[in-house]
């Protein structure tokens, strides 16, 4: 939603994110088909070979994520994409990526669950995305785009962040964002930052350098504990440096809607309608879900005393908002799960209830 200059083209969300990966220097993609993100592998199957990269359709999501791990060990920029049930299958591999401290980009175009669920849009995977998802005491940084431009921009950015922190990065979209087309500029707005990885990657020790061993299992007294502190220090740095959000119309607001992704699009429509009626509503849109913008929401709650959390689920991010706000402001919630989309009229009614 930020204004950028450049050549705009009408492009599908899934294609925009795939091109964002290519321009970030992604050299390997491993994936297994699942609606609603199939345009990602379809596009990369011809686009990656054009830039000297490797596209491989694996036999399953479990195989895909472990291929991602293997490529990440060599220092290659690597990505996989899937949708909710497939991302569940990948959780073991994501935990290993975190434990091994390997950079990788994972895209989840959410569809509704639980179980096999359906193919409709949802934000039901907020908890899974922001709490790690697999076993162990780890986090993945989670970027939450709300339009096709951000799908391109955030996927491009995700590769830099993955390398910066040597950690898996999640791009969390949904079935609407992936499948819709809107104008976007498929050119990065800043050069990519790819650090020198030669100090840790596994590329063969033929030149006589000492052998390296990347692993996540340490049985020595206190060694595993130390690894967890190292990871924690990394997450502290993410929480300090990587919080991103978009805050609009909050200066004069009597109340504000807090929403991410597609839900934020619905919120903006409702806010325009409300403001046309003279009701001053603001928007707070987290662009990173982990790290979550706790401080910014706390400070918002000191000025705006009525907050409505809008989600495409029955209430997940609202827990983080309540933790941030405490008793500084009233926090209401409206959500519809599993393909139900709140209408603008519904949201306006909830604003009125606040």
């Amino acid at each position: 939603m930020a204004e950028r200059t450049g050549n705009k083209q009408l492009v599908k969300g899934n294609v925009a994110l795939a091109e964002g990966a290519v321009q970030a220097g992604c050299k390997c993609y491993f994936g297994y088909p699942i609606t609603p993100q199939n345009a990602v592998p379809e596009y990369l199957s011809w686009r990656l070979p054009e830039v000297g990269g490797t596209f491989l359709q694996a036999e399953s999501e479990v195989a895909s994520i472990n291929m991602v791990l293997g490529a990440a060990l060599t220092g290659a920029r690597v990505m996989t994409s899937s949708s909710s049930p497939g991302i569940s299958l990948m959780q073991e591999g994501i935990s290993f990526l975190a434990g091994d401290q390997l950079p990788a980009v994972i895209v989840n175009m959410q569809r509704c669950g639980p179980g096999l669920g359906g193919i409709q849009p949802t934000q039901g995977d907020y908890f899974q995305a922001t709490r790690g998802g697999g076993h162990g005491d780890y986090r993945t940084l989670v970027l939450a785009p709300a339009n096709v431009q951000e799908l391109f921009d955030f996927t491009y950015l995700a590769f830099d962040l993955a390398d910066k922190y040597r950690n898996p990065i999640l791009v969390l979209g949904d079935a609407i964002l992936g499948q819709m087309k809107e104008p976007a500029i498929l050119e990065p707005d800043h050069p990519r930052e790819e650090p020198d990885k030669s100090g840790w990657t596994l590329t063969g020790a033929k030149d006589g350098r000492p052998l390296r061993n990347i692993r996540s299992m340490f049985l020595g007294e206190g060694v595993q504990e130390q690894l967890n502190y190292t990871l924690r220090e990394k997450y502290d740095r993410m929480e300090r440096d990587e919080v991103r959000y978009d805050q609009r119309w909050c200066d004069d607001a009597d109340c504000a809607i807090i929403a991410f992704g597609t839900a934020a699009r619905i919120a903006i429509s409702a806010i325009h309608e409300a403001r046309d009626e003279g009701i001053r509503v603001g928007l707070f849109r987290p662009q990173t879900l982990y790290p979550f913008p706790f401080d910014a929401i706390r400070s918002l709650s000191e000025r705006v005393k009525r907050l409505l959390v809008l989600e495409l689920n029955t209430g997940q991010m609202v827990e983080d908002v309540r933790a941030a706000v405490g008793d500084r402001a009233a926090v209401g919630f409206h959500g519809r799960p599993a393909g139900g989309l709140p209408s603008v009229t519904e949201v306006l009614a909830k604003i009125e209830e606040l």
Binding site: N147, Q179, M180, K181, E182, P183, S269, H272, T345, L348
Partner: protein, 187 residues
Amino acid sequence: MAGMKVKKISPRQEFEIRLSGSGGQGLQLLARIFAHAFSSEGKVVAQSQSYEPTSRGGLSRSDLVVGRSEPDYPLATNIDFMLILDQVAVKAADDVISDDALVITDARLVTDPPKGTFRVLALPIMETAIGLGNPRVANIVAMGALTGEGNLCSKEIIEAAIRENIPSKLTDLNIKAFQEGLNLVAN
């Protein structure tokens, strides 16, 4: 704010179109040509469509939300112009057709058109395409009818978009189909 109606056309949004029918009727192509035409007029278009599993036979639809800036809510919620080329698509739009919408249906393939205060125009779209020697251009015939009756866009801009999006050996046939569609609503 109780009972506040969402305005159909706000300064940010101009109109919404739904192109619907069954898979294989060329509705996604139609959406692409329309989107191309509106974009070249400087409008901003968001397009959404039915998911892959329903695109091989069965209901197929593509929605365009057209505005002067990026549409906030990218899905159609209050359709102003609707095309229905197959009976299977009639039910799919019950609650989102605007009260004063223009609904164009194929007179033969849509046996039971939607009912409401909106205006329904049943036209011999498929018959016209068959008359042109190729039922597959029914989508472009429909495009002509929708463009003419809805006054959506200039004829020249649509024709240019057709030329950009359709292989050159089929251009003449499709331009003719578009013209025939315009003729269906000319008077």
